[in-house]
């Protein structure tokens, strides 16, 4: 047993070293901008860069809109499948997993071909149209996570009883969905939403190929042109990802608390 414990600690320590080393190194590197001493200059340069603010704001807004669009597509569908169409369940689940199977670059390639300027729906012809296409692409990417999160949330509530109760009180479908189901799965939506946020905020391939001024392409541009600022960006990106995961954990904890109260 002693030997097992020793090897376990050793395996763990080696793993921990590999995973923590790049974080430490990146942080150290990001502080090196001023010669001979550590400073936060690289962060200052990045934060003062108007391009940083614009691209970050763009990706931030894209993430929020993606989450809203995703919620409007996923919640009614998952609800309807649970309530009335259990026979469609495996098909819908399979479709929502497709974005994990089909590489993102192939999906965006398909978008560019299908919505080009000479097509029936020339979304790439205008800035607004391209933005719409970008959001829809991101909503597709987030489908596996959003659907899984919402479906798990629906599992914990009694969809049928809640629906019947709301209907017997005279609620229409919009009331049922908006005022009964949605608040009940809100916490589940949140966990899907934060994951979506983490994915969209630094996404590169869609934004680059659709030529949108997003944070991902900006980071790549920085990587090609600056020395220390990319490390500062990496530290920030890691902090954002970490923050999103922490918020997911908080959301799940909140939902457990919810269940006890009910």
């Amino acid at each position: 047993m002693k030997a097992v414990k020793f090897w376990s600690w050793l395996a763990y320590a080696v793993g921990a070293f590999y995973f923590l080393l790049p974080l430490a190194a990146t942080f150290e590197f990001s502080l090196r901008a001023r010669r001979g001493t550590y400073s936060f200059d690289a962060y200052q340069v990045v934060l003062a860069d108007p391009q940083f603010r614009e691209t970050f704001a763009f990706s931030f807004a894209a993430a929020i809109v993606t989450i809203i669009v995703g919620t409007f597509i996923v919640v009614p569908t998952a609800y309807w499948v649970r309530l009335r169409l259990p026979q469609a369940r495996s098909v819908v689940e399979f479709i929502t997993l497709l974005p994990l199977i089909i590489p993102a670059i192939v999906i965006v390639f398909g978008h560019i071909r299908m919505f080009n300027t000479s097509s029936y729906l020339p979304l790439t012809g205008s800035t607004m149209g391209t933005n719409v296409l970008l959001i829809c692409g991101y909503a597709v990417l987030s489908l596996p996570y959003m659907y899984r999160a919402v479906d798990t949330g629906l599992r914990t509530i009694d969809v049928r009883t809640l629906t019947e109760a709301a209907q017997s009180l005279g609620g229409g479908w919009f009331t049922v969905l908006g005022r009964v189901i949605f608040p009940n799965v809100f916490v589940a939506i949140l966990s899907g939403a934060f994951l979506t946020f983490a994915i969209v905020i630094g996404e590169y391939v869609f934004a680059a190929l659709l030529n949108r001024p997003a944070f991902g392409p900006y980071m790549v541009w920085m990587g090609g042109n600056r020395a220390y600022e990319p490390a500062a960006l990496a530290v920030m990106a890691f902090a954002i990802t970490w923050g999103c995961m922490a918020l997911i954990q908080m959301a799940t904890r909140f939902s457990k608390y919810n269940k006890v109260v009910r």
Partner: protein, 300 residues
């Protein structure tokens, strides 16, 4: 409930009203169906069909035959190699760490912290990950500098270069290993203590327990996760692009360049490359889905 439904169906079966009601039930899926058709299914079909069409829209195998060029085959091979390697190493290392956490007597808080960290690291892919590794193992990276200044040892002297196959593999492991930990830890939790005790009481050695009990139960999960990690690495673009620019020719990087500027001078060759990529990840995931179903039978 279902009895009542069956009774109702029997009494009104076949009527037009019933048909209309059935239809309206399916109509509830319309928004979803419309969305995924427009932005997921049809675009993908568009690519697949395009792979079998020539410039005039007639059916042809020429595009797939056209993949048979040295640079495309090479990119394909490098992509498959890096995906196989990082999937295999990711599985192995992830399994070791997960085993240490679940069966090795490490404190429970360490386990929770590791699972949380794995959730973060498996999503910390793309451009920032490449930056992190440049800051660590790059020419001026912390590890390179410390080895050079303190140990008077040059990483380049043993042939290590971050902007290479090895360097990219090292970087990919940063999201591959955590994904493995996330998937395999629950599977290891499902291994009952009684199984080990039963094997022990029958006189089995540790090796025999692993070979005849643990591995047969775990192998569908392991192979299935291997397939998932493979597809994960195979479709990754941003990390590789930010790390190596275009100096390392991978399948997705080649497709990226082709979409941007038709570098192969034949638009339909782009379709064929995309089709080949779908085919590879689809096969990998088919294996995953099949084995996953088998693995779950054991865990009930």
């Amino acid at each position: 409930m279902s009895d009542l439904g069956a009774l109702k169906r029997r009494t009104t079966g076949g009527s037009i009203a019933e048909f209309g009601k059935g239809l309206s039930v399916w109509l509830g899926l319309l928004p979803f169906a419309l969305f995924v058709s427009l932005f997921l299914i049809l675009p993908t079909m568009n690519i697949i069909v395009g792979a079998f069409q020539n410039a005039e829209g007639a059916f042809t195998f020429d595009n797939l035959v056209g993949l048979n060029q040295a640079n495309i085959l090479n990119a394909f091979w490098v992509s498959i190699k890096i995906s196989l390697l990082t999937a295999a190493l990711g599985c192995l290392i992830g399994l070791m760490i997960a085993a240490a956490l679940t069966k090795g007597g490490l404190p429970i808080w360490l386990r929770d912290a590791t699972i949380t960290f794995s959730g973060v690291a498996s999503n910390f892919a793309g451009v920032p990950l490449a930056f992190a590794f440049i800051a660590t193992f790059g020419r001026l990276g912390l590890v390179t500098v410390i080895l050079r200044d303190v140990f008077n040892f040059s990483l380049a002297s043993i042939g290590f270069n971050l902007i290479s196959f090895t360097g990219l593999a090292l970087t990919y492991l940063y999201f591959q290993v955590p994904l493995m930990i996330l998937i395999v830890t629950p599977a290891l939790d499902g291994m009952r203590r009684e199984w080990r005790e039963a094997a022990d009481s029958l006189g089995a050695s540790s090796g025999q327990y692993l070979r005849f009990v643990a591995l047969p139960i775990l192998w569908p999960t392991l192979l299935g996760t291997f397939a998932l990690l493979f597809a994960n690495a195979f479709g990754a673009v941003a990390t590789a692009m930010a790390l190596t620019g275009s100096s390392l020719s991978l399948m997705p990087i080649m497709l990226f360049a082709q979409i941007r500027g038709d570098v192969l001078q034949n638009p339909h060759l782009g379709y064929a490359i995309a089709f080949a990529m779908i085919a590879v990840t689809a096969i990998a995931n088919l294996i995953y889905i099949t084995l996953r179903a088998r693995a779950e039978r054991w865990q009930k």
